[in-house]
């Protein structure tokens, strides 16, 4: 053997002493930083602007041919939905700190952090603020981030969420080392809806059941983290603060059905009798495992979904069918396993269930003990649905607002999609 070859062999050995595994972990996470916004700034920020793209859509609300899509914390998109196959974005109402809305007649009620604002929407291109109830909501939550009103400074203490990407060298092992930093994070609340809640008064819109606002008779009901606040709207343009009822903890949604109020919390469902609209009375509480739980009601059945998630961590992913014939003692009939259910909507005998990243499911619930899946649409993100009386299903997800023709529940036909122009997530 010649010497150069031996030398090269020796060199190869030598170089290899430096062999080092290179493992880098990359993670994207939400970073929270405190932000203070003065009330004056919030109150001056309201105006009508030209339509813009959906970026971070929240709750949806329909009224007549109009569709309102909340842009989390930013305001409301007004969409002309006369033709569900070709919805038109008309304008955008900038409302700082907006998350909920309700419409009766030509009056739109919306929250703006701590204030309740009434708007005249007779001309959607020029929406006017007509009255404001100041500092009625002491705190709230957006996308898992809570804010609160600081009355001494007259400002809102909020948090800004940034998506941060970080990389570090790791040991090439699966240890899920917890990182420093981070912060409090809550699972994004599920929103949910149901078909035409027949709540008496004409000329009002339709909300999802994840809504914190509900209209009934001469009152606007709003639920906070632990109480229900009523507004007298006998003069629609001038909502006046009325009774306050404390409910419990972790209140998520209010869903009016006939003369009852179904209030969803993280621990269960509260049923209130609303025959005296000024003083709703608690009838019963349906307790369940701690979880995120949108509720929809039709006739004598309530459908509740439980899903696993960071804050609702019981690992349960199921659909519960509850008998509410006797409102004083709701009974669980049967639970069905699901993948990751979020919002749901019922158009009896069909139930539409959002499975998050797993898509949308169309179920037949005619038989309580044998709920059948009749269609499963995948390849889309599904968070929330509203089945409308005209056999149109509205569905919102992280990737956009979809509308389906549901005249054949086993073969949903997509009519249109308003895409989300999201920068991240």
């Amino acid at each position: 053997m010649n010497k150069p070859l031996l030398f090269s062999l020796f060199l190869v050995c030598l170089l290899q002493w430096s062999c080092t595994d290179q493992c880098t972990e990359t993670r994207k996470y939400k970073r929270f930083s405190p932000v203070t916004v003065s009330l004056a700034e919030i109150r001056q920020g309201v105006r009508t602007e030209t339509s813009r793209d959906l970026i971070n859509p929240g709750k949806i609300y329909t009224k007549g041919n109009y569709l309102f899509i909340n842009e989390m914390k930013e305001g409301l998109h007004i969409v002309d939905n006369t033709n569900p196959s070709a919805p038109k974005m008309i304008s955008f109402i900038k409302i700082p700190g907006n998350g909920d809305m309700a419409v009766r007649g030509n009056i739109l009620y919306a929250d703006s952090y701590s204030d309740l604002v009434a708007f005249d929407i007779s001309n959607p291109l020029d929406v006017k603020e007509i009255s404001r109830e100041k500092e009625v909501f002491p705190s709230g939550m957006f996308d898992g981030v809570s804010w609160f009103l600081n009355t001494t400074t007259g400002a809102i203490n909020d948090q800004k969420v940034d998506i941060v990407t970080e990389t570090r060298k790791v040991s090439c092992e699966n240890a899920n080392n917890s990182w420093w930093g981070g912060g409090i994070w809550f699972d994004r609340a599920a929103f949910s809806s149901a078909a035409a809640p027949s709540n008496g008064s004409s000329g009002q819109g339709q909300a999802g059941s994840m809504a914190r606002f509900a209209l009934y008779d001469k009152y606007l009901y709003t639920v906070g983290q632990n109480e229900m606040l009523l507004f007298d709207i006998s003069t629609p343009s001038k909502p006046a603060r009325s009774t306050k009822i404390s409910i419990g903890w972790g209140i998520e949604t209010i869903f009016p059905y006939r003369d009852k109020l179904f209030i969803g919390s993280t621990t269960g469902m509260f049923i209130y009798d609303n025959s005296n609209p000024e003083k709703p009375e608690r009838l019963s509480t349906f307790q369940h495992a701690m979880s995120c739980d949108p509720v929809v009601v039709t006739d004598n059945r309530a459908y509740v979904t439980l899903r696993s998630g960071t804050t609702c961590n019981r690992g349960l992913n199921q659909l519960d069918v509850i008998d509410i014939t006797d409102l004083r003692s709701p009974r669980l009939l049967k639970s069905y396993p699901m993948q990751n259910p979020h919002g749901l909507g019922v158009d009896y005998p069909n139930l539409y269930l959002c499975e998050g990243t797993h898509g949308l499911k169309s179920l037949n619930v005619a038989n309580d003990f044998d709920v059948k899946q009749i269609q499963h649409l995948t390849g889309m993100d599904a968070y929330d649905v509203i089945p409308l009386a005209n056999k149109t299903l509205m569905m919102v997800g992280k990737d956009g607002l979809y509308q389906f023709d549901i005249s054949n529940p086993s073969n949903l036909r997509q009519l249109s999609k308003i895409p989300v122009k999201r920068l991240d997530i």
Partner: protein, 200 residues
């Protein structure tokens, strides 16, 4: 009957002697070749300690078991081409590389010791790997160049001792903690592979 046996026996001897005559001649016939080796993948890892202030790094040495078999054709007296399959037991990944391989005799000593050049390139699969809950491991590119020493036996088989550099990529998607949207790890295993095996 015995005559027939005798005839066959003579035939066999003849055939064998002709064969051995041919073997001594420089004429070469391509044939199947197998090299099966067992060894270790030597290396280390340098990583940041999570949350350390000031940033501190930790160093750990790593040694993984590797098994590999090369199956191919000795195309020319010095060149063999084939496919390498193996299993590498990394700390938290069990990867099975499949690669195209070359073995080339660089030089031969009088004592029938050959210096061998080897090169394998391919993909490491996760077929044998089992993931922990919410972890998802994917394999990646694999490169393995190196040198070996082949100690030939009279029987034609040989003992092979090889030293090579092994680079292997993998990607692991990890479960999410609070506030996390996406988390993954890109792995590049850089190892020195020391293997001992047999060649047939």
């Amino acid at each position: 009957m015995p005559t027939i046996f005798k005839f066959l026996w003579v035939g066999f001897i003849l055939a064998h002697s002709i064969d051995s005559l041919r073997a001594q001649a420089p004429t070469f016939k391509p044939h199947y070749v197998n090299i099966t080796e067992v060894g270790g993948l030597f290396g280390r890892v340098v990583y940041d300690i999570a949350g350390s202030v000031p940033a501190t790094q930790q160093v750990e040495n790593r040694l993984s078991l590797t098994i590999q078999t090369f199956n191919g054709i000795q195309l020319k007296p010095r060149l063999a081409l084939g496919v390498s399959c193996g299993v590498d037991w990394y700390q938290s990944a069990l990867l099975a590389p499949v690669a195209a391989g070359v073995r080339y005799d660089l030089a031969r000593s009088k004592k029938n010791v050959t210096l061998l050049g080897l090169f394998d390139a391919g993909y490491s699969s996760n077929w044998l790997h089992v993931d922990a809950t919410d972890y998802k491991t994917q394999g990646g590119m694999m490169l393995n160049p190196g040198l070996g020493l082949k100690f030939g036996f009279k029987s034609g088989s040989a003992l092979v001792l090889s030293l090579s550099y092994k680079r292997q990529n993998a990607k692991v998607t990890k479960p999410l903690n609070w506030g996390e949207i996406e988390k993954w790890e890109d792995r590049v295993y850089n190892r020195m592979a020391l293997r001992l095996g047999m060649m047939f």
